[in-house]
């Protein structure tokens, strides 16, 4: 039978003023299982704690209840004291008779009776408490970064600089992401490539960074501190170790007219190519869809002329397993496409803007490539249709963004600024040209942002028209833009030479399937969800996985870099200890009763529940059950409330403990 010790605190007069603490101790002392009950002026003081320790040892107490202030105040204090007296800290419970009793009631009789009941409840509860050992989880101090855009690069460099190994995985043949495609960046108009490419080179040269380009995450297993990542390295057809990056193959390739996606299909590239001249690594890849060798078996020119013999048509996809302890997801964004969308898609496209069929109606990224000195036009703003310089150019903002009827209701956050930038770049290049911007309202908060936007209007003479465009259509070689100016209430019709659409920022296609592999949650649009919008903005609910950049929501470069560094800092915090220690308030599966319905898995906000096979000694499968990974479990107990047979139990809040309290009432 249990020998429970009860310690009733006066808290100076805070409790004893309204609660008759002596009477509480006396009444509780007669309760079944209570071996010792006393009261003391300040239980949390050194002598108070000493009293508690002494009683545990002398009275051979098996459990203790401290009736004092809220457990949020001193639960840790008393559990520590109990522990130092040789009692498992989880055999100590706090009865809150201050915040929940003496401070909120004035009637001494009522307050005392209530205090007795509160303590009685905790006495019954503590009888059912079990010894809980602290949980430790080993940590592999290597990190995976998914995505080699600016977010991934920044996170990888920060973690590597702190001395930890990083595995960086990029889907495309080169790192750089969208930022490498940009011409100049707001609000300073410095050249994007000038600030980006040195970082790319840092990555490839960093001794702590292992870079996989043209590779994707295939499979993820494990949990915080102990992930096993399977990476699919797609067949590049060029041996990265042998290739010197001389570029001869690209010069000689007979297939030359493949639209280059990096240039938004404006420029052309050969079948063996690097996406752009500053690519990292500077190793070409063969586009097997277009390569003659792969299509017909003939040609083979690149292999013949390659001095080091790096071209390898036989190369196959390889799967590589990397153990890591933390994951930074930095997969970036795609732009909304105005083309007709398949039936059933929540994204609608823009029939009124021609569904993408008018050649001189382009999106912002295409404009970036036109404006980029390294772009297909060498930095000249020219119409894709006929190569003429547009003299009247119309920019339309909020295309897709903030348009519920088009499937997206959020603001893409960066378009106001980059459109302002576009008008400037345009004016700098086409001095006699006129830029018009249709906008709903300008959202330009940020350091030097508003000033930048005003400069576009005041210095660069962009005409901002507040209103939306209802339709545009090709008329001869002009594009008629029909819109309204709601500030003066008139219809506006502009015959433009070119139209630039500030299309919405969307998560990458396939973001959902990566999330499913990682076991992280995502919103309706497939942006990844942070654990807490305010207080845990870079962590996923799934422990050990962190978010950086636009995969979590639209953001500009400064915000992206900040978040990437924050994610890196979180990884470093995790890596600062060899073992992860955590409170043992975690769920455990009682395997005998588990019927593997996996309701627990369905409701677990942390993805902590796994499927486990139970086999006999011969290896025959007996049954499959749920298993809660104690390293990942957050301790909410939703699984237990959901489990039909109550075969999963949250330590510290077991049904026995709770029912004991209810029955004590």
């Amino acid at each position: 039978m249990s020998r429970i010790g009860v310690f009733v605190c006066h808290c100076g007069e805070n409790i004893s003023r309204t609660v008759d603490v002596e009477r509480v101790a006396a009444e509780v002392g007669t309760m079944p299982g209570v071996a010792f009950a006393t009261d003391y002026k300040y239980m949390c003081s050194d002598p108070g704690q000493g009293l508690l320790k002494k009683a545990i040892q002398e009275q051979k107490l098996s459990h203790i209840v401290v009736a004092a202030c809220s457990p949020r105040m001193h639960e840790k204090t008393f559990r520590k004291a109990a522990e130092s007296a040789g009692l498992n800290p989880f055999l100590c419970e706090i009865a809150n008779i201050r915040e929940h009793c003496s401070w909120v009631h004035e009637n001494r009789e009522e307050a005392t009776a209530k205090a007795v009941e509160i303590v009685g409840m905790m006495v019954e509860r503590v009888k059912k408490n079990r010894v809980l050992p602290t949980i430790t989880v080993p940590v592999t101090k290597r990190s995976l970064v998914i995505g080699g855009g600016i977010a991934g690069i920044q996170a990888a460099l920060d973690i590597a600089d702190a001395g930890h190994d990083v595995v960086l995985v990029e889907r495309e043949p080169s790192i750089g992401g969208h930022m490498a495609q940009l011409s100049e960046t707001f609000p300073t108009l410095d050249c994007s490539q000038c600030i980006m490419t040195p970082k790319m080179v840092d990555v490839v040269n960093h001794p702590k960074i292992k870079l996989y380009t043209y590779a994707e995450v295939e499979h993820v297993e494990g949990y915080i501190g102990n992930f096993q990542i399977t990476i699919r390295k797609k067949a590049r057809s060029v041996d990265e170790d042998k290739c010197t990056g001389c570029g001869l193959c690209m010069e000689k390739c007979p297939v030359r007219k493949i639209p280059n996606q990096f240039d938004c299909n404006l420029g052309l590239r050969p079948a063996i190519y690097v996406p752009f001249p500053q690519a990292v690594p500077n190793t070409p890849v063969i586009d097997r869809e277009h390569c003659i060798k792969f299509k017909t078996g003939k040609c083979g020119l690149c292999q013949k002329i390659c001095g080091p013999g790096a071209v390898d048509y036989e190369q196959e996809d390889t799967l590589i397993i990397e153990p890591v302890g933390a994951i930074v997801v930095a997969t970036g964004f795609d732009l909304y496409s105005i083309t007709e969308k398949p039936k059933g898609s929540s994204i609608k496209g823009y029939g009124e803007f021609g569904h993408g069929k008018i050649p001189d109606v382009i999106d912002g990224m295409t404009f970036e490539r036109l404006a980029s000195a390294s772009g297909p036009t060498g930095g000249k703003i020219l119409r894709p249709s006929d190569g003429q310089e547009p003299k009247q150019i119309v920019f339309i903002q909020c295309v897709g963004s903030r348009a519920r009827e088009k499937g997206i209701s959020y603001c893409s956050k960066i378009c106001c600024m980059y459109t302002a930038k576009h008008t400037m770049l345009y004016k700098h290049k086409v001095h006699d040209g006129q830029a018009y911007v249709f906008f709903m309202d300008a959202r330009v908060p940020g350091k030097s942002y508003d000033e930048f936007w005003r400069r576009a209007i005041e210095d660069e003479e962009a005409v901002y028209i507040r209103g939306m465009v209802s339709r545009l259509y090709q008329k001869g070689n002009k594009i008629v833009v029909m819109g309204s100016d709601i500030s003066v209430g008139v219809q506006v019709e502009i015959e433009a030479d070119m139209v630039v659409l500030a299309t919405a920022v969307q998560p990458r296609t396939g973001a959902d399937s990566l999330a499913q592999k990682l076991g992280i949650s995502y919103d309706h649009y497939h942006f990844y969800s942070e654990a807490h919008a305010k207080l845990r903005p870079v962590e996923c609910a799934t422990a050990g996985i962190y978010l950086a950049g636009t995969c979590q929501g639209p953001k500009d470069i400064p915000d992206t870099v900040s978040q990437a560094s924050a994610a890196a800092a979180k990884v470093m915090t995790l890596f600062a200890k060899d073992k992860l220690e955590r409170e043992p308030i975690v769920a455990k599966v009682k395997e005998a009763g588990c019927v593997a319905c996996f309701y627990c898995k369905k409701v677990c906000p942390y993805g902590a529940v796994e499927e486990k096979e139970i086999r006999d000694r011969q290896g025959n499968l007996i049954k499959v059950v749920a298993y809660v990974n104690p390293g990942v479990c957050g301790g909410c107990g939703t699984c237990q409330a959901t489990c039909p047979s109550k075969s999963v139990e949250l330590d510290g809040y077991t049904d026995e403990q709770i029912v004991a309290m209810i029955e004590a009432l």
Partner: protein, 166 residues
């Protein structure tokens, strides 16, 4: 100055199931702010409303509660991301069931009380206590607990006495 408390013939027993991060902390704040409310409520702390099994509510009524309060974090504030969303669905369904079997839902209150809402805690508890006090004791479950199958019933004075006491 002490306001003399009104004496009531019946003081209901109210059981509150609350989450530790929001409502328990909100109740702590009510204490720290020295707000006053009826002493009828007994608080059971859970990590999260997601942990609260509907059976506990039933059990509370069976054990003599006259009113039950379930309270947790506001939507979006859950310390465990989504426990309160699961709880919201569960209780939306469970209260309909209780209503269908004849439990007066005026005895069962759900609320969101954040760690900053000491005042709301007081308001919720006071309102529920007063409402249930006006309704009188939760006779249904108490009577049910005393009822026997005819074949097992015996005319014992002690049973009769116990019955009379409720």
């Amino acid at each position: 100055m002490h306001v003399e408390k009104q004496k009531h013939d019946f003081e209901p027993k109210i059981i509150a199931f609350v989450c530790t991060w929001c409502t328990y902390a909100g109740a702590d704040l009510a204490g720290t702010s020295r707000m006053q409310y009826p002493a009828n409520v007994r608080v059971l702390k859970f990590p999260c409303t997601g942990r609260i099994d509907p059976v506990f509510i039933l059990k509370a009524f069976q054990q003599g509660a006259d009113g039950v309060l379930v309270s947790g974090c506001h939507p979006g504030d859950c310390h465990y991301i989504a426990g309160n969303f699961h709880a919201r669905r569960r209780f939306a369904a469970f209260r309909k069931l209780l209503e269908f079997v004849g439990v007066d839902l005026n005895r069962l209150q759900f609320s969101w009380v954040s760690a900053a809402e000491g005042g709301k805690w007081v308001e919720v508890v006071t309102e529920l206590t007063e409402r249930v006090r006006d309704m009188g004791p939760m006779q249904e479950f108490k009577e049910l607990a005393m009822e026997e199958q005819w074949s097992g019933a015996i005319n014992t004075p002690e049973l009769q006495e116990a019955y009379n006491q409720i």
